[in-house]
Symmetry: D2
Subunit: 308 residues, 4 copies
Amino acid sequence: MALTGVLRPGHAQIRVLDLEESVKWYTDVMGLQYQGRDKQGRAYFKTRAERDHNSVILRQADQAGMDFFGFKVLDKATLDDLEKKLQAYGVATERMPAGDLLETGERVRFKIPTGHTIELYADKADVGSACGTTNPDMDVIDQPGIIPIRLDHCLIYGDDLEGALDLFTKVLGFTLVERVKLEDGKTDLAVWLTCSAKAHDIAIVRHGEKDKLHHVSFQLGSWEQVLRAADIMSKNRVSIDIGPTRHGITNGTTIYFFEPSGNRLETFSGGYDHYPDMKPITWTWDEVGAGIFYHDRKLNDAFLSVVT
Amino acid sequence: MALTGVLRPGHAQIRVLDLEESVKWYTDVMGLQYQGRDKQGRAYFKTRAERDHNSVILRQADQAGMDFFGFKVLDKATLDDLEKKLQAYGVATERMPAGDLLETGERVRFKIPTGHTIELYADKADVGSACGTTNPDMDVIDQPGIIPIRLDHCLIYGDDLEGALDLFTKVLGFTLVERVKLEDGKTDLAVWLTCSAKAHDIAIVRHGEKDKLHHVSFQLGSWEQVLRAADIMSKNRVSIDIGPTRHGITNGTTIYFFEPSGNRLETFSGGYDHYPDMKPITWTWDEVGAGIFYHDRKLNDAFLSVVT
Amino acid sequence: MALTGVLRPGHAQIRVLDLEESVKWYTDVMGLQYQGRDKQGRAYFKTRAERDHNSVILRQADQAGMDFFGFKVLDKATLDDLEKKLQAYGVATERMPAGDLLETGERVRFKIPTGHTIELYADKADVGSACGTTNPDMDVIDQPGIIPIRLDHCLIYGDDLEGALDLFTKVLGFTLVERVKLEDGKTDLAVWLTCSAKAHDIAIVRHGEKDKLHHVSFQLGSWEQVLRAADIMSKNRVSIDIGPTRHGITNGTTIYFFEPSGNRLETFSGGYDHYPDMKPITWTWDEVGAGIFYHDRKLNDAFLSVVT
Amino acid sequence: MALTGVLRPGHAQIRVLDLEESVKWYTDVMGLQYQGRDKQGRAYFKTRAERDHNSVILRQADQAGMDFFGFKVLDKATLDDLEKKLQAYGVATERMPAGDLLETGERVRFKIPTGHTIELYADKADVGSACGTTNPDMDVIDQPGIIPIRLDHCLIYGDDLEGALDLFTKVLGFTLVERVKLEDGKTDLAVWLTCSAKAHDIAIVRHGEKDKLHHVSFQLGSWEQVLRAADIMSKNRVSIDIGPTRHGITNGTTIYFFEPSGNRLETFSGGYDHYPDMKPITWTWDEVGAGIFYHDRKLNDAFLSVVT
């Protein structure tokens, strides 16, 4: 097949400080569909358009952040193959049993050099989108909440950016789409990577600490939906970090905002297609502001400092 | 790599009745960039956003239509490998020499069972987009013409749909995204296929004759850009077949219209992502109208009859 | 005051064949707010954004059509003054008592030369918009239905267009915004009139019969909301006459469609501002198609023939 | 007529520090049409859509700011009448001769209690929009620059807000649309006024100094055009104060930015209709942030301090 190996971001497990409040918020404000809880008490969600059973898992904890981020792979043979490649590369892997996450098959779990836990899995129950697969009507926005299309990507902060970049590109088949250079013109401050033809499926920023989350991102259908999302945030007194604005990197339009536990989320729209035959785009240190926030052409304080 | 094999539609060679007039029209109305001519007199174009040297090639001829449609593959090894697989499948292939198309490497050419000529190639000169790959500014719409983002896909009409579907999925690694069934509920009237995660990279409709073109399609950035395209068409007295409207199939918003030689083109925006782990969507015969034109829920006469 | 006299379209009484079905349809599909019934059984609606108690009144009848169209005037003194001017002009007027329409004051009713019944009134209870007048939040689209902003205008068909034009401009202070000429280049086929700075508050097309309705129109906030409306129509199997498309006249984007009794409604967005110091725009007979439907540049059969 | 008296904002004379540079900037970045210079060296501009000869006049000066803001009135009789009413109210008026501003008739000039110079005039040469008044095609965006639709309104800062409010509403027929109250719940911090049915034709903020300009505002056609404007600003390294974002007051979407001399301009889209029968909207002191910048729900430092 033309698209094989790692297909797409599939799930993110997010730590929240008050699970009841968070279930309500992710339902009412984000407009996600609540899919139930498991024995550990974790709460599961999907978007209306997603077909697989869940994409967002909330876990009650004392500290906000992201436990792990999972990618769906083509099939079980691919899962076995990638596990072998990870081990051959020197990465320790762990098999999480089928059913540990609701309606989800076995997962191969491992740590990347930035300290984050990444998972691969081949199976998650296809419970169907809001429209089904026979003569589907359009899914018109007709209820409260932001109602994103999909869990799209995450941006993580960690120390060994080179190590993570090497693993994602050499072992997992990701392509480098954009990069920001430090003042020396050589070292990467940040990289954007894709496993498909999207502008990004994961992004990594160099940071003093390991295993930090900058944001988990959800796709919207248009710049006007970005505006609607901002209006909903204001109505619900959600703290907006920045936006609506545009990223120079990826060209996407965006809002960064904080959910009740302080985790930063993003709702974005747009972004170009990137194929593996294309050269990556490079941003130099003096233009990093325009790369991150194209209209202001400067970073806000929070971008480099606030993580969970 | 996660995206390998056949990457994307790369070029379409379109037959036009008056090359001078057509060069002017594709420049002024479509807003494509003229890239020059070859020794045979063929005229080359790309969009502002495309990086490779050309995507649309116009050839003067007595009859409108499409000579061939080409897909870019990952690299030369992939090209060789796919050629062998095509031959093993029983398809005769021909090597078109590098340079036969301007700034384009060797192409593997073959006929599919619907009679269309398809090409694969690994190399086309990267001449860069309007924005470049270092600290790129946004490419703002600031000149006449529709200015599409990219050559996106084509829809072809031919007789042996099953044969073409088999070849695209089994040999070239495409995935079936949507299908329309005939009254018997079994036979396909039409299929939409992707080699990436787009809703379609090529589509095929069953038809009495071989080797017919329904339309070549170009992507726009938003529904508002679709409106701008329709306004430009009207200002330039372009014959619109239908639109602006929405397809049920792919969910894309669209205009079908005719260039000066009578070839149908499409400018569209949107459409969902499709991954190879997802079930195809099926449209039954009684709902084919809504599948093709979601708002009218019926086919216009031209859809099934006018081809070049 | 700068804006005085006739302020705006305020209410339309529409005849429907099945009131129960229609109440459900205007609620669920149009997304209007049901405001109750009066003793005669008429059903009342307003939009979420409108502040006055009602703008659409449905009356059960054997034949579809519009009973009357009402304009709100600045105050009671204006109402008295305009009644006198109408009488001085030779128009018979009738006072409909306060409360005849729910929450509505006295109305001055009269027939215009095209046979239509027009009303003026100064008072309708201000029940408030969905947002109120203190620290209002944005009214985000968050429920089923098209949810227009306001009753915007109507287009009526009748015989004595010159007579109606004279009355609206000379007595009621309307301004001619656009006109379409017949083949003789002199006679008006149609006129668009405003009492404010909108592109139209009422429009009139010359027609063999008196007192016919072409459409009642509702404003939407954007071209993307026009698309959402078309999607909702398709989901609800509403018969679309034409659209989404654009009018050359007014520049508005539009959908014409039929409610269950066969009355044509419009949802539109945009349109320029017109002030009384500006010359009217004229469309010649050969370009009337582009004036009405800018993209197709031709009239569809229904435009001139289907009225209620 | 229904719309009489003061019709609309017609021209603003802005002081710039370097006229040559400013002419280039208002042409290339704002996308205004240069209309020539007068004997005093002032440079004139209009938008593509405006019909009157000029709306923006630039004057070279040592200090940025706005010399005067002019409103067009219905006709000469209205001009005479309003002059008499101003004088009767106690305002000294001055007649500026016809031709003092290019292609502009006599102007009645006076100072309002906040120290600003306001003008009324009845005549300015109708040079026509880009589309004309016979069978006009749509004016599609097809060249560099922001290309606003019209000069829309201004926001001025001054001390005697009550005095200005009284003059605009009692003498000039403006309507109060929205107001922001100070902490005492009684005193107005700011008022938004209309002479038509727009959300604002002028706005006034209470301030320690007289005769200050906060911004001159230009209308755009959509939220997507606001995004295009922001992209153009970034490409041209224009300093953006805030935006794209939304105002709670008026509901308009907006960007505030600075032209080369430091005058703040606005490009905005949207905003509701307001009629003189409607109650004004009131914002209390604790919600003023949401009123001004709806998404952030707080004022940025510049809003209350940076004026010219």
